[in-house]
Subunit: 486 residues, 2 copies
């Protein structure tokens, strides 16, 4: 038997691995047949011009993995259990298709926005939205907090966290929510999740059966729509007005067991649900035995005074699930969100979460906990409010100057974007295209709407742009915005 080994001593792969790889391939391909004898170590070492110990090491590895067997005093043989196949080391067959479940087919079929490639194809001015660009994020403080645990509390890092989250973080969040958002909760009611999607998915699995109705706002949060659809529920949608969901227009035959709302700052249209509607919504939930999911995705970002108290704080039945996130006010890359759960849902949620995901990184949670409890968070928030409040004002002034009567939008000074509504007859897709030709990326409102013929609308995020970019972007947008009525 001739066995050619090709050894490259410049290769970063250790020489013994090169020997191993080549022998393994020869066995799997059948070149070295089951039961055949491998060359003696000293022989192969000489032929390949490597040390004997190197060959011995490769043989040991092959033996440990069952490719070869050594017989005392007789040498090393290809194991008889190996069934060589010429294709064994070949490329993976891509024709095999597993049968997906109904859920899997639904997940695959759901229309999803393409993942953005932020590097390629970057426009001159991008009115991207939904993320915070904290130019003045206190990195020094953040680094200090991370370092604190990295050097001293080894024990904390070497254990799995609680599925409900790191307790000091739950405590810090509860303190903040009670104080700043009017939420009524204790630390135990707070559960840490990776974000709103995970929270909604687990809630849907706990509460929604296929065919159940879910009440949602339109326009609304498309990822929530996708998730509720994935659970085969029926979306009952109501167009929002300037005050959020028009509760008095919920159809009397609506049997929704879950309502998903954004009362503090309607997403993405803007507007705040007044107290009377909030109380009516709570009444509706009680009458219909429904749960309300309050998505307070940017309740911290109001620029005209204090934040509005959360709907959750008015709930006296334990029917409101409050969703919050750090993605908007710290940075999305943190991937930390939280829920405040009513007592009845706490155990089921945490139990379910412990089965499907063991928890968020403890280190990040510990750092965020200190960031909150030591006051850095609210200091940072004040700065963000000033910074984003100014940017929003500049955008509003530019819109008034360049677009004026041609658009309408919510006057509520909050959040990280403005949704412009055009006069009927305006072709929003055409607008997006024409703006892009002028180096300005704006976002079509249609994907956020559920109704068949939504009013034409455009989303403009302002958090990632500076003053002159905002003004210039609006100027260029106005140049392609039609004057006419539909």
């Amino acid at each position: 038997m001739t066995l050619r080994l090709s050894i490259d001593k410049q290769d970063p792969e250790p020489v013994y691995r090169q020997v191993y790889n080549q022998l393994r391939a020869a066995i799997l391909s059948g070149e070295l047949a089951p039961g055949s004898r491998l060359p003696p170590i000293r022989h192969l070492a000489r032929v390949a011009a490597v040390a004997r110990v190197t060959i011995a090491h490769a043989y040991e590895q092959l033996e440990a993995e069952g490719f070869v067997e050594s017989r005392a005093g007789s040498g090393t043989y290809v194991a008889s259990g190996v069934h060589p196949s010429p294709a064994a080391d070949a490329a993976i067959d891509r024709s095999f298709l597993p049968t997906l479940t109904e859920w899997g087919r639904d997940a695959l079929a759901l229309e999803r926005p393409a993942e953005r490639n932020y590097e390629a194809d970057r426009p001159e001015i991008d009115f991207g939205f939904g993320r915070s660009f904290a130019e003045r994020f206190p990195y020094d403080i953040w680094r200090r907090l991370l370092s604190r645990y990295l050097s001293t509390d080894d024990a904390m890092l070497s254990r799995y966290g609680s599925a409900a989250g790191f307790f000091p973080l739950r405590q810090a969040i509860a303190d903040y929510l009670v104080r700043a958002r009017g939420v009524r909760c204790r630390p135990d009611d707070v559960v840490i999740v990776s974000g709103a999607q995970q929270a909604l998915d687990i809630l849907a699995r706990l509460l929604l059966n296929p065919g159940d109705e879910v009440l949602v706002e339109t326009p609304g949060y498309r990822d929530a729509f996708a998730l509720f659809r994935l659970h085969r529920t029926r979306l009952i949608y109501l167009p929002v007005d300037g005050d959020g969901l028009p509760v008095d227009r919920i159809p009397s035959d609506c049997t929704a067991r879950l309502a998903f709302v954004t009362p503090t700052h309607q997403f993405p249209k803007g507007g705040t649900m007044p107290l009377s509607r909030r109380l009516a919504l709570l009444e509706w939930a009680k009458a219909g035995d429904a749960i309300i999911v309050e998505d307070d995705y940017d309740g911290d970002l109001r620029y005209d005074g204090g934040s509005l108290a959360a709907l959750q704080g008015l709930d006296r039945d334990g029917r409101v699930v409050y969703l919050g996130t750090f993605s908007k006010v710290l940075f999305p890359a943190l991937r930390l969100g939280y829920l405040v759960l009513p007592p009845s849902l706490n155990t089921p949620f945490v139990r379910a979460k412990s089965l499907v995901d063991r928890g968020a990184p403890t280190l990040t949670q510990a750092a965020v906990a200190d960031f909150l409890s030591e006051g850095h968070f609210e200091r940072h928030l004040r700065q963000l409010r000033r910074q984003y409040g100014e940017k929003r004002m500049i955008l509003v002034e530019a819109l008034n100057e360049y677009l004026g009567e041609r658009v309408s939008f919510s006057p509520v000074a909050a959040g990280l974007h403005i949704m412009l509504f055009a006069q009927s007859g305006v072709d929003e897709a055409e607008l997006v295209r024409e703006a892009a030709e002028r180096g300005v990326r704006v976002y079509a409102g249609a994907p956020y709407h559920l109704e068949a013929s939504p009013p034409p609308s455009i989303l403009l995020g302002f958090s990632g742009l500076n003053e002159s970019e905002i003004v210039e972007g609006v100027r260029r947008l106005a140049a392609v915005w039609p004057d006419g009525h539909g």
Copy 2:
């Protein structure tokens, strides 16, 4: 109308919030009826002995939230839309119980291990297992890697990551797996998850229908059992021997469409599946159109030479899903795991994941990517292997000295624990209790077994103990270990 305000200037709550809270409570309770007029600002300021601007601020907040309305020239009135209720500000009613789905009831009913309270009730010697205690984890390097991104790449932190994971990390993992674990993959095949549970949950949702059979090992990974049960599948279990799953004993009528195996180092019994069984398992999967999930939870931790190549590397049909984790070799608190998916499952998995969880923290992913690609990972691994290899040897020697013939265990030098099998008739629960009375915590093997009358067994983790604790712990355990045969 008399309105009593109780102001405490020592309270950390700002005075205007105290005023706001008390007026809000009075409105919600009906003490201040809808339509009634609030005291003029100057009057209330005098009565409460606070500045007028403070009362004005509270009124503004109440107005912003819809509790009151100001009428020009006439004063401030409780909004007519408020429907006061004496209970509105009372404690949340804990009697409300939402109707859970079947899934929710299953999740709640599944027996789960209690979350350990690591601080309280800490025994003198705890043979806890499944986690790495890296006394010499290179914190300085880790801090440097985290800082690198915290100070320079703001843009990276301010965007949502890809659902499949941070690409440079996927690349670094693919490089490592090809080189060190014999996995055949490209970076695109690697998907980052929060851990094995998330990976299994999404795979089960994609592939398993209620009533489907799933082939598993016993003893085995109880969290995987719980998850498969939650999906209402039928567990077909085979007792493993010293070489892992006895593939030739898979019942011929088994219709499992998924097999969950630990071929590199059987969990928790120990032992390594030889090549012949691996090839037979791949044949079985092909014949039955099944997917094999290979959980390589500690494949990096072998103390007697190189790691064994993964089963995945032998797969030529694209039927093997490879699961890996950083929890064992870096620290559990990282919460980062990964899968290598066959081409056919890649798009469905990533699509599903993007719907239920937007992704792991980018910063952590970036730091781990550099930790791998700059060689720190393998350097750390070599140190861990030396450190844990020594601890395991000490444990083995102590077991041989103090327990000798009374126990058996796998000779494979790998992992972070040893599973001891006692002679039949030994009462493992009694053993655990008696050891605890002597300050030694050991873990019963029964929860890891699926068969009705499993052989008595005890799990001993050695990663968190030093040499003298290991020896002393075994000495005490031996003192309560019965001699007799069953």
